[in-house]
Symmetry: C2
């Protein structure tokens, strides 16, 4: 029990309970394949097991950890299971967890350089490391005109990019005066829903987001983008933002960044490149072609919390011109003034995103990069791509299935020849079996299954199990009318 | 070293390194008073100690933890020191750290109910608990028309509230069409900078934020608010949002929520109440008067990560009408469709904030509440208020100092009679001594020192040390020309 005088857990109790939690997590990963990947909880079931009001008196930590096992775990869908292939991964690693724990332990606020210099400097430093690791444009380095920052998610990064683009476009037109209803933004019809959300948030309005047509591979058509921009300009509208996607959520389509970038440069429009999952592939030189043309982009984001073994949240957002971003988001009240800020010699990350407060997220990224080394990270990216490509070959060879889109990296989109109901049935049966977890999308109007290989512990045997189970469910379909 | 075949840290290595990190944190708290509270690092010093590029090969965890001690710690400002009185606190506790660790270990995404039911249901449940614990309006319960959600910060919560207010006001005027340049928002001249930031983000424009005059206690004047709204209406502008503050960052001023709420109701304007730090005081019935009138608010936020022993980030955001919030932020792409969402029986928190992805933050809040019990949390709030009130009495009795604002709770604003330079000198000398950390504000145009008691391990002896050191620096001033 806690210190009687203060109710606090003592340091020695923390040592003991901390070990118990570390062991619980280690045990969890040793038995993770025993759980059904998708939780079988019914709506309200978890809540129903909890007391209706908060306890008046403190409880033992042991009882809390027991409740995690007994009440919470049945309601968990195991995102870290090696049999998880749904959505995009949100992967993880032991070094990352330890970085998160240290960050929680130190409990510093990194809103200003002055409020904890190491929090800002390690972040700037590791984000500069990543420029080299991924072969990103030098302008994204903090030692150049740009720089990187850790945001929570790609949604927030896209919003910040849109705002910077909006401000750049309206500087002469309506500075400080709010939107004027003539701004227009562009992304492909396959882009992430966060772009639509960002456009709503920024007051540009959903009607003023153009969903540009895609080609047969679901990548944005530059000619269609150019035509849309010209049409808006002719109608006296103000194009302010283009978002290209390197690896769409739906099918991993790769928008042609160079061609899009040239159009944006010609019209002076802010280009943001969203590479939330696939950006990590650029660790390997042989995959860097996916970001060809990135030197023409104004901003870029990818999520180490998707495919680079860093637990959520960790989005890396880069800009070519940090002044444009800071001017967009900076507000400086008296209570945050300090000498370091006024010297101009430091970065204050509060001006680089929506929130003011921020935690020491660079620690976990630093731990992951140092633990694996660049070679270890490359090893896993290559292995995941190889496993996905092996699965794609099987689909190509399987007469009952077809590939629904190119599979350039680690996501495979496929469907059974018998149409939507059959594919829905296959997916539902696989997911409710507990053996694996797949999700779907819709391509060319047809229900399509997605298998994304990116979980940190996924091995060949797991993908072979997936193949076998998909084959079995397809075979079972033969007996269904 | 890591598993040779996979580069992963093995579960057994994680057990060992995890213990080392837990012990490091326990040790850190046992020696935290030995460090200067404010880091003495110079700009660039931390970066200068790090290798210029990422390691090609993995390194040992031992070397990483040694670097935390040797390279990072000197760049840390000790927010968790009991001698930290700056800004608002960002406090912490051992049970909270363990909740954060478990959340990192499970690594689930709670964007949809379906992606991990326990993540959503525990959050909804604990936020309903807090309605009871704090005496909030019943409409904020998920079982009524409203509900609560964990956001990262009060800045993000204010932005979401503003967006919901903007959508409500423009529903008939410009639905889906973006801002029309006639929207107006209101807050007091003492409100947090995040409101100005939110107004910029939302495309309303800084010019259209009215900073309403305050009374002698720095609280918003309802008559001035009413006059400003009437003036805007007369000019055919569209008032959409009012933010009242319960405990301003500058001086802990308490806006009169009931009077403001009545004005908002009369004009049909969304009222958000920002109680980022002070909201926690409502755990104690004797302090609940600060939120009188909250039944008239449309939304409300407070931060357990400030004063309720929950490590950053943890902001609790409540709305009276969840449909208004969801309609504002919802976008539903095919790849997120699922049966549970379509049944309408579940909450999908992705529609309650800016990001899509979200981690299992309810775990740490659940651990904190269960560990301390409501009585333990109340004990600390009362103790902090008592310590701050004792300090305020000393200031009142000290002829060299004066209180610069009322000190209703745990923040004391004070200044030396000799003016700005003297106060700046006192603050600089205190902070550079390493003994404690204070920050400043400006009230009535004069530099004012702030002492906020809210760190979890702050005891009477720490506040007595602060008193003594402030007295010494004031005495030293006597010898300065």
């Amino acid at each position: 029990m806690a210190d009687k005088r203060s109710y606090h857990m003592t340091p020695d109790e923390f040592r003991r309970h901390g070990r118990a939690v570390v062991d619980w997590i280690a045990d969890y990963y040793e038995r993770i394949e025993n759980f059904p990947v998708v939780s079988r909880a019914k709506p309200g079931e978890i809540r129903g097991s909890l007391p209706s009001s908060a306890p008046e008196h403190g409880e033992s930590f042991e009882s809390m950890l027991q409740d995690v096992e007994k009440l919470i775990l049945p309601g968990v869908t195991h995102w870290q299971s090696p049999n998880f292939y749904a959505y995009f991964p949100s992967n993880n690693s032991f070094p990352s967890m330890l970085g998160e724990l240290l960050s929680a332990g130190l409990g510093v606020q990194g809103m200003l350089w002055a409020t904890s210099p190491a929090c800002t400097e390690l972040e700037t430093h590791v984000l500069d490391w990543l420029v080299g690791m991924l072969g990103l444009p030098d302008a994204f380095r903090s030692t150049s005109t740009g720089g990187g920052v850790i945001q929570d998610t790609a949604s927030s990064a896209s919003l910040c990019a849109l705002l910077a683009g909006r401000e750049r476009a309206t500087k002469l037109a309506s500075n400080e005066r709010g939107c004027d209803g003539h701004l227009v933004a562009y992304t492909s019809s396959q882009a992430h829903s966060s772009i639509e959300k960002a456009v709503k948030i920024a007051g540009i309005g959903r009607e003023n987001l153009r969903l540009v047509e895609v080609d047969r591979d679901f990548a944005m058509r530059p000619d269609a983008l150019d035509a849309a921009i010209r049409q808006d300009l002719a109608a006296s509208r103000l194009p302010c933002f283009v978002c290209a996607t390197v690896g769409t959520t739906s099918s991993n389509a790769l928008d042609p960044v160079r061609a899009i970038g040239e159009i944006c440069r010609r019209h002076g429009i802010w280009l943001h490149v969203d590479a939330a999952m696939s950006g990590t592939a650029a660790l390997c030189p042989e995959f860097r072609h996916i970001q060809d043309g990135l030197d023409l982009a104004d901003s870029y984001a990818f999520n180490p919390h998707k495919w680079m073994f860093t637990n959520f949240d960790s989005n890396c957002f880069y800009v070519r011109d940090r002044k444009a971003l800071i001017d967009t988001l900076s507000v400086l009240p008296e209570y945050l003034r300090n000498r370091a800020t006024e010297s101009g010699a430091v970065i204050d990350y509060r001006d680089w995103h929506i929130p003011l407060g921020r935690r020491f997220r660079a620690l976990k990224l630093w731990f992951v990069i140092r633990h694996y080394g660049v070679e270890g990270l490359r090893f896993h990216v290559r292995r995941h791509v190889e496993l996905a490509q092996g699965f794609a070959r099987w689909i190509r060879d399987e007469s009952r299935f077809e590939l629904a889109a190119p599979a350039p990296l680690n996501l495979v989109c496929f469907r059974h020849y018998r149409g939507d109901a059959a594919n829905q049935r296959i997916m539902d049966r696989l997911n409710s079996s507990g053996d694996l977890y797949l999700t779907h999308t819709r391509l060319d109007g047809r229900l399509t299954l997605r298998l994304c290989v990116g979980q940190w512990q996924t091995e060949l045997r797991h993908v072979e199990l997936a193949r076998q189970r998909i084959g079995e469910e397809a075979a079972a379909l033969e007996h269904v009318a």
